[in-house]
């Protein structure tokens, strides 16, 4: 069921892309609906600034819109879009120097899944701050892996690097997070 659902979603996305390439604005709006939240979320984690993330998301989607005819049907649209966004983020970082917002500590009740996997509110806050403090490249790669489910190959496409480097960045990010969280997780161990 999951596999057929996935292929149905891909087929739907292909249809939107095809129609948008022919001038169908509603089809492009569907792509915006589909990707905005994920793109914004990733950009928020990169910028730590809500309005910057919103501006960048909009910027990336506009750029994707403008060069849609260059997108190769059948290739990974998400990686293509996120690459555009990442380049926009890098460009913006060069010219702007916005003040970063502190990591929001108002973490709501967490339920990650099976009870034995859930972590405490304190650990969650610690995790959030640790992610916030990761070097940008590591953070970008890690989030593409765990939030977007991209393969290392696709992460490399987005970040315009090699697959080996993408894997290494995710490795370093996890290593850092685990070292920060270890004391807290030790305390919470049953």
């Amino acid at each position: 069921m999951a596999a057929s659902d996935e292929s149905r979603k891909l087929a739907e996305e292909s249809s939107w892309i095809d129609r948008a390439q022919k001038g169908d604005r509603e089809a492009f709006a569907q792509l915006v609906e589909h990707y905005w939240d994920r793109l914004y979320r990733w950009l928020y984690h990169l910028t730590h600034h809500q309005h910057s993330a919103e501006d960048l998301a909009q910027d990336a989607l506009m750029k994707a819109f403008a060069k849609l005819e260059t997108f190769r049907p059948g290739s990974n649209f998400q990686a293509w879009l996120f690459r555009i966004a990442y380049n926009a983020f890098l460009n913006q970082r060069r010219v702007a120097n916005r003040s970063r917002s502190p990591f929001p500590d108002d973490v709501a009740g967490i339920d990650a899944g099976p009870d034995e996997q859930a972590i405490s509110r304190e650990a969650m806050q610690l995790l959030g701050r640790a992610v916030h403090r990761l070097p940008g490249e590591f953070r970008a790669a890690l989030l593409l892996r765990v939030e977007e489910g991209l393969s290392f190959r696709e992460i490399a496409d987005v970040l315009e690097t090699t697959e080996q480097t993408a894997r290494w960045r995710v490795f370093k990010a996890r290593q850092k997070l685990l070292s920060v969280l270890a004391p807290q997780l030790d305390r919470e161990k049953p």
């Binding site: 022919k22 001038g23 169908d24 604005r25 509603e26 709006a29 915006v32 609906e33 905005w36 939240d37 914004y40 928020y44 984690h45 809500q50 993330a53 919103e54 501006d55 998301a57 909009q58 910027d59 989607l61 506009m62 750029k63 819109f65 403008a66 060069k67 005819e69 010219v95 702007a96 929001p104 108002d106 973490v107 709501a108 967490i110 990650a112 899944g113 996997q117 972590i119 969650m124 995790l127 959030g128 992610v131 890690l142 989030l143 892996r145 765990v146 939030e147 393969s151 290392f152 894997r167 290494w168 995710v170 490795f171 996890r174 290593q175 997070l177 685990l178 969280l181 270890a182 997780l185």
Partner: protein, 452 residues
């Protein structure tokens, strides 16, 4: 394998829940590494739960602009020239000085390299490119065919008006396109007029919510039309643009009266301006879009189709009887069928394929949808089925000769397109037939009871 290696491998896996056999063999016997694996999984699973401020408003605003601003589409597709012209006029943008200086330098180069030549002969490859205006208007029209609520109708008509205004503005850079601009401005007036009529039907309690964005859209339309007219006038007047501006202002005043507000004509400069700039910058690296002259030729080629869609839309907005609405859509489809036929005979495969797509959409969303709607109130065996079945028969009369033409063996270069066109036409006709099949069967049975 030792624990150090195992733990490093776990950190570098794509998914720590899926471990290779060699690593699994170590984990089975190592509680320390099992705990390590558990923590890696925990961290991966909790990161997506980290809170992020919502961006609901920004998303909604952007979606609204994507859906309602043909200028967005146009500017992104046409490249920099219009964007530069409009950007100079904008008052409310947020780019930093450093970014502006860098962008200006690039713009200078790009404008000189890629500026359009209004006198350019039509590029043959562009002749076959889909017409975004026609595509958008067909979408609007079929959306109107599916709704009867005045608030939705007013909104769709507002979008349609914006499509027409956008096209007028695209043509405005070339004086040779004056007659086309005038036609478009006339249609704009009709559509906005109908939009106001629909707005009058909106219940009073909902007017504030429904009419405010429409009024804003009209205010922006008036401002942008005037702005562009000022930019390109160079001593001559641009009547179509001024006419659009007057129509938009008048309509806005009428909507304000309906809302019982005394709003001034405040122009909200879209915050999208720097993004349009960025989009234009990106597009500048690609091939420039069609010139005003090419667009005018494309408009003239499709003028009859566009007129049928616009006129049909006005009827759809004012007609509530689904049978009559189905008939209106059938008439639109008929005009498309004639053009598809012409394209097939002239071996214009891409054009036949493009128009067949619209034909199918009109039949499915316009005719079939309304026949289905009408049929919900009519029993399977009823005299009232007559008009429904008559429309079905007329659709078949339109589609079948067209299908025969598309099946004809012809130029191998256009075969693929004609097959695609045939598929679209057959699909549209099938949608209508499906809706009526039970009724048609009942009529046949009653005509010949021995067949029961």
């Amino acid at each position: 394998m030792n624990c150090h290696t195992a733990q490093r491998r776990l950190l570098s896996l794509a998914d720590a829940t899926r471990v290779p056999a060699s690593l699994r063999a170590h984990l089975i016997d190592c509680p320390t590494c099992q705990e390590w694996q558990r923590r890696v999984i925990q961290v991966d699973r909790h990161i997506p739960l980290l809170p992020v401020p919502p961006s609901t408003f920004a998303k909604a605003r952007f979606l609204r602009e994507v859906r309602t601003k043909p200028s967005l589409w146009r500017r992104a597709q046409d490249g920099l020239v219009q964007v530069v012209g409009q950007f100079r006029q904008r008052q409310n943008w947020q780019m930093t000085a450093a970014g502006l200086a860098a962008a200006a330098a690039v713009l200078f180069v790009v404008v000189h390299l890629t500026g359009p030549n209004p006198g350019m002969v039509v590029n043959p490859s562009r002749r076959n490119q889909p017409d975004p205006l026609l595509a958008s208007l067909v979408q609007r029209s079929t959306a109107l065919a599916e709704v009867r609520q005045p608030d939705r109708q007013a909104e769709i008509l507002g979008h349609m008006a914006e499509d027409l205004r956008g096209q007028t503005e695209r043509l405005a850079h070339s004086a040779d396109t004056r007659s086309s601009q005038e036609v478009l401005a006339r249609w704009y007036g009709k559509v906005v007029g109908e939009e106001v009529k629909r707005a009058q039907e909106v219940p009073a309690a909902e007017r504030g919510r429904v009419l405010a964005p429409l009024a804003l859209q009209l205010a922006q339309a008036a401002g942008e039309a005037d702005q562009l007219a000022d930019e390109i006038s160079a001593g001559r007047t641009n009547d179509p643009l001024r006419s659009i501006s007057r129509i938009a202002r008048k309509a806005k005043r009428e909507l304000d009266t309906l809302r019982d507000q005394r709003a001034t004509l405040e122009l909200r400069v879209p915050l999208l301006a720097p993004r349009l700039m960025a989009a234009g910058l990106v597009f500048a690296a690609a091939e420039p879009g069609p010139s005003a002259a090419e667009q005018a030729l494309r408009f003239q080629r499709n003028e009859r189709l566009i007129q049928s869609v616009v006129d049909g839309s006005l009827l759809l907005a004012s007609e509530s009887d689904p049978v009559k609405r189905a008939d209106v859509c059938k008439q639109i489809a008929k005009v498309f069928a004639e053009e598809i036929q012409r394209a097939a005979v002239d071996h214009e495969g891409p054009r036949a394929a493009e128009l067949s797509g619209y034909f199918s959409t009109v039949l499915e969303r316009g005719v079939a949808f309304n026949l289905q709607s009408a049929g919900e109130k009519v029993p399977l065996v009823s005299m009232q089925n007559g008009p429904l079945l008559e429309i079905g028969a007329q659709v078949a009369q339109i589609a079948q000769p067209l299908e025969a033409e598309l099946r004809r063996d012809g130029d191998p270069r256009t075969q693929t397109y004609l097959k695609q066109a045939l598929t679209s036409v057959e699909n549209g006709e099938r949608q209508v037939r499906e809706v009526l099949k039970d009724r048609a069967k009942e009529v046949r049975l009653h005509a010949d009871p021995e067949k029961k």
